[in-house]
Symmetry: D2
Subunit: 399 residues, 4 copies
Amino acid sequence: MRNIQVSELDRRAVEDQGVEIVERKGLGHPDSISDGIAEAVSRALSQLYIDRVGKVLHYNTDETQLAAGSASPAFGGGEVLEPIYLLIVGRATKKYEGQTLPVERTALEAARTYLNETVPELDVGTEIVLDVKLGEGSGDLQEVFGEDGAQVPMANDTSFGVGHAPRTETERIVLEAERALNGSYADSHPELGPDVKIMGKREGDVIDITVAAAMIDSYVADMDDYVAAVERVEEFVTDLSHDYTDREVHVQVNTADDLEEGSIYLTTTGTSAEQGDDGSVGRGNRANGLITPNRPMSMEATSGKNPVNHIGKIYNLLSTDIAESVVEEVDGIRDLQVRLLSQIGRPIDEPHVADAQVVTEEGVAVADVEAEMVELIDERLANVTDITRRVIEGELSTF
Amino acid sequence: MRNIQVSELDRRAVEDQGVEIVERKGLGHPDSISDGIAEAVSRALSQLYIDRVGKVLHYNTDETQLAAGSASPAFGGGEVLEPIYLLIVGRATKKYEGQTLPVERTALEAARTYLNETVPELDVGTEIVLDVKLGEGSGDLQEVFGEDGAQVPMANDTSFGVGHAPRTETERIVLEAERALNGSYADSHPELGPDVKIMGKREGDVIDITVAAAMIDSYVADMDDYVAAVERVEEFVTDLSHDYTDREVHVQVNTADDLEEGSIYLTTTGTSAEQGDDGSVGRGNRANGLITPNRPMSMEATSGKNPVNHIGKIYNLLSTDIAESVVEEVDGIRDLQVRLLSQIGRPIDEPHVADAQVVTEEGVAVADVEAEMVELIDERLANVTDITRRVIEGELSTF
Amino acid sequence: MRNIQVSELDRRAVEDQGVEIVERKGLGHPDSISDGIAEAVSRALSQLYIDRVGKVLHYNTDETQLAAGSASPAFGGGEVLEPIYLLIVGRATKKYEGQTLPVERTALEAARTYLNETVPELDVGTEIVLDVKLGEGSGDLQEVFGEDGAQVPMANDTSFGVGHAPRTETERIVLEAERALNGSYADSHPELGPDVKIMGKREGDVIDITVAAAMIDSYVADMDDYVAAVERVEEFVTDLSHDYTDREVHVQVNTADDLEEGSIYLTTTGTSAEQGDDGSVGRGNRANGLITPNRPMSMEATSGKNPVNHIGKIYNLLSTDIAESVVEEVDGIRDLQVRLLSQIGRPIDEPHVADAQVVTEEGVAVADVEAEMVELIDERLANVTDITRRVIEGELSTF
Amino acid sequence: MRNIQVSELDRRAVEDQGVEIVERKGLGHPDSISDGIAEAVSRALSQLYIDRVGKVLHYNTDETQLAAGSASPAFGGGEVLEPIYLLIVGRATKKYEGQTLPVERTALEAARTYLNETVPELDVGTEIVLDVKLGEGSGDLQEVFGEDGAQVPMANDTSFGVGHAPRTETERIVLEAERALNGSYADSHPELGPDVKIMGKREGDVIDITVAAAMIDSYVADMDDYVAAVERVEEFVTDLSHDYTDREVHVQVNTADDLEEGSIYLTTTGTSAEQGDDGSVGRGNRANGLITPNRPMSMEATSGKNPVNHIGKIYNLLSTDIAESVVEEVDGIRDLQVRLLSQIGRPIDEPHVADAQVVTEEGVAVADVEAEMVELIDERLANVTDITRRVIEGELSTF
């Protein structure tokens, strides 16, 4: 029997608190670039191992470091002066049963492909230098996710994961606005770069959304063009926000601009990494895509970790997944927080404690939902290796 | 008038919650080494600028990356095989009014001095390679902390800081145990390396303290010696914990050891960075020295940031400082959480909101303490530049 | 009046010596790759400066270092395991009259383009990592080659250049064989990689040509295929050699192969840099494309040096150019050696001494050719800036 | 029977030629620093292998690259601004029969020790960053120099070595002046840095010696002091030169100085690597310590190569050693040039040809000395492994 505890959450739902702060660093932010490459490398290595030896071998690539370049953006098209330098750091098994595996080449390929997709205006190789240092890991390998089916690994560390659901209105606006800007909006508005940072602040029933959006100089002819581009983003986010809330929403874009001084957020490549903004893994969004100081957060850097045996990664993704499934299937939940704590020496599907704390909706008692919740959580825990599979297949985002 | 709000905290005091988790990565942990070097470099650059040009110029050195080495520890003394590689990344002003400033040499000196003090068994230059990449920052410098006295800088970003007080019993045990182990204990027990990681878990009134302590092979003759060394740490932490709690405490040290397999936590240099554990800035302890998932945390990496004008750094240190002063001077507070949110374009001593949420002791109302709290908070905000000074002088720790 | 001296060369013509040794490292040899990139970067920077500021500014990029990768070639197609690492080192002016120039990006672009052309099977970015460290040069710039016409720069160093003509038969075979193999032959025989090293040894009238030719695995199906490919090269070089000599010629290809052991010269990318062979600038061919221990050689690394003001580069290319022109226009010369020695503080077209030593053909006295030679040499010296122009335009090879 | 050929050298003795040019880059020159470190690393690895496994394993460390720093020297003491970066590149066997060998740490230790001895004013770690990239070599190891006595290895490449004796007067002055300046002179004149470059030019009976000598700023109070220091070097070299010649000698030191402009050769560390001068292995002195365009030279970079099995290294050192022994023991030789050419697949003590070309003194015929020479050469070839031993023990210099 798994140790699953359901109790009342000892605070108001975040949606009902007086002040709420939420942040998301978009795909092109230097920290997110680091997260994204770390995770892309991780997926590629998992796939390499499965293809070559039938199972995932030991690795961790959760330490990408980005050192910013310098650039001189200009209306109509500027240029990068000094390339960004990005160092992929980690451990990976290079030899297995007589085979030598191209882990460094695979890492570089994955990083290049990821960058080409995510920051398409950045020329990989001349505007960013990709370098790699993958050491051998420690000797004791755990190989548990193979073609013969998945086994549930043992926990070898005390680790903690936390997830929440449902998202508050502010959280949804912040998350969906970044996704839409970096999705459909960017497709039809090439002047918007992927380095979009969104801060949401709610005081009572007033939501302030602050967007920092890197514009790409080759698609911006002059200052009027720039101002129009900023206004389009503002309108788009304002419109979008009404899909998620009836509260009052104020959207501001590139508030640090000083048009008279000509100090605006114009870039050549669409990311601030081109000029002075360094980045690294685990410094930005948590596993659920957001930074939420109103909620407990794990410090664990999820991106780049081995999805087969790194408990911290698995438990952060799994707790989020559990919270979302429970809220989707069980009625009457206003806020749910799921915590998983590992137990050294036990299979990871048997956590020391799986702790679901809930704020129920008015008229609903914890007892009303407890049984259903326990059942769902139990089922999800039993299928823990699903998380591993979905990470490798790229279905789950880690930042 | 500063916008200072005092209200009741919308949850139980952490001390009274059912489950509490606390962690601290000790000085020799790869993430803490990165934090420590980033901050040592930052202090050295501040001092360099003050000495040479009379004020602190623009810099940020918050992106140190450590790529682990490999080693073969052995009873009586093993050896490092491949050096650790540590890259100091950041921005720093190199030229000012015709003077060229030795920022990279200064950074390397600071890092070497810090490592020699903190991880003395690690030979800098052969067991760890220190490298540096400091770019020029963006052009707009803010110089506000000089010999003519300090000015309060303007906020140029939306940033958030959070602090708490008093520490719970578990928090105190975790923090003080690491400090004592890396202090008086290590002085008299050279076999204990600085890479000590402590995890505290409290369920109700039972506290479990798990210590991972890197032993240094040249001071450990054989397995019996090792076992004795581990037991000494266990006793020491158990004794120490009774200074901070009357609760039941269980201490476990190096629980992942498998003595029969000879798999123990033995190192040559006292840090796991020698063998496979990478590290980087901002991945470990928050500004108050702890990782506390039960409390709101800022994702901001405090170490290495410019203490004159980086609001995130200042507000995280200041909110902690405010919380601690208030609790020290005002009676009747069981738990206090202070949040500071910046307001773009306003001096940083005038935050958008300074929000103090409090759990009072039984019989004390928020109204009873509000006035005194507001006064204290106001005074601290007025003296915000004190934080900068104390950081530069090394009085405030950032991790 | 220029100080031009013509005298009899104090030895037999190399063609008439008993033993002669000649070597050429082909385009894909790790040292030649370093030379080629250094020179490609140099040309690109010259062009950048001319385009942007109308004249060539101070730079030197003569220090590329290549650290080999590892690979596992296999019949039908193997793979690179660890990428080659190539560091472009040098100095370049980054700021000029308020403009900032993209010297590092330009260097990376030039290197990538050069590699794509020269070692097409090598995927730049995943099979070779290109990195760059260009410091600022020393302060005293010399800008002499601009759009307003070229000025002749002053010599600021004691430097020496030496050139010869005509090439001996062995020299011609070695040089032309490499060019043909890397030219027409490779076009129609994709299995031949660019890393072709040719050693020529003549004893009396017997010439031994030893070719080390890297075969590309994806075009070689099996051992028979490999043996046939080697034989084709042998036949081709044997045929070609008869265009340049009537002497007895023996050609051997990949003599270190041990077919039974399966130890053959098979590569994945066509260069030995993929597996263990490092390279750097100035270690291979001299400015005339050959290594000729029978002749005086300059140690100067010509590739990557600034062609406007680096006397060593200019004098090595110019002395070769002079020797070749003289031999082409003046009859009766069997061997000619031209030495140029700079004079500090004088324009470089006025060398301290231009010293032409000649072996005349039977029946021709030095006096018979002296006047014509002096005139030709004087004319060439007067047009020294032609060398600069031809280097920048890529007409002159430096290795 | 070894194939040893003695014949008359087909030119005048270099001592009797009209123009002679000789150069030596002193110990502190960036190219010599690279050579010196490469060779120090090589010796340390040889010693490591002998100590740990009883024989020298496969390695080559002949590719050190130095990227210059920047500095601001000043009378009385300036400072380094940006550190020099030095990358040790090469191959070394890391695992042997279950043992893992600390090759990278050993390389860094050797480099640091060498620099501390050779460029004592340069602070290793802050004024120069030492980094290392040692790959695994190719698989086929040759282990031939062990505790069980030395075996003569087989030649696996066509390689060529050349040596000469005796040194001309100009050669001796250049070599001995550098040694004395970097020896006794520097001991008593701390203002002289190790970066001393000496160029000797003889035209007929007039010898011009040009010295470029880096002065160390902390020992030079002002311009008068500097001028006096330069004059002292000039006097010292002038005096020394009379020990080696009766010819007319002119010595000039730091001729590029412009005292009025304040443009002088002042450094903080004693090497021009601190400011803009890059360096790498094999670009400076040949194995005999000199650059001698009047004599055949090998392009082979001797420093850093494996002294057990690298024929190029062994043959260059051995041919020099043979030439010097023969001249010492056999009377009547005015100039001797020894060439060794390897024969693939034969032991290296049986070269394809050992070719001694001699200019005898007046009244001496080649036939008079031939037998004695052949005997001596034969003996030296038989003891070829002595070269290996002397290299490992540091008795033979390679640059």
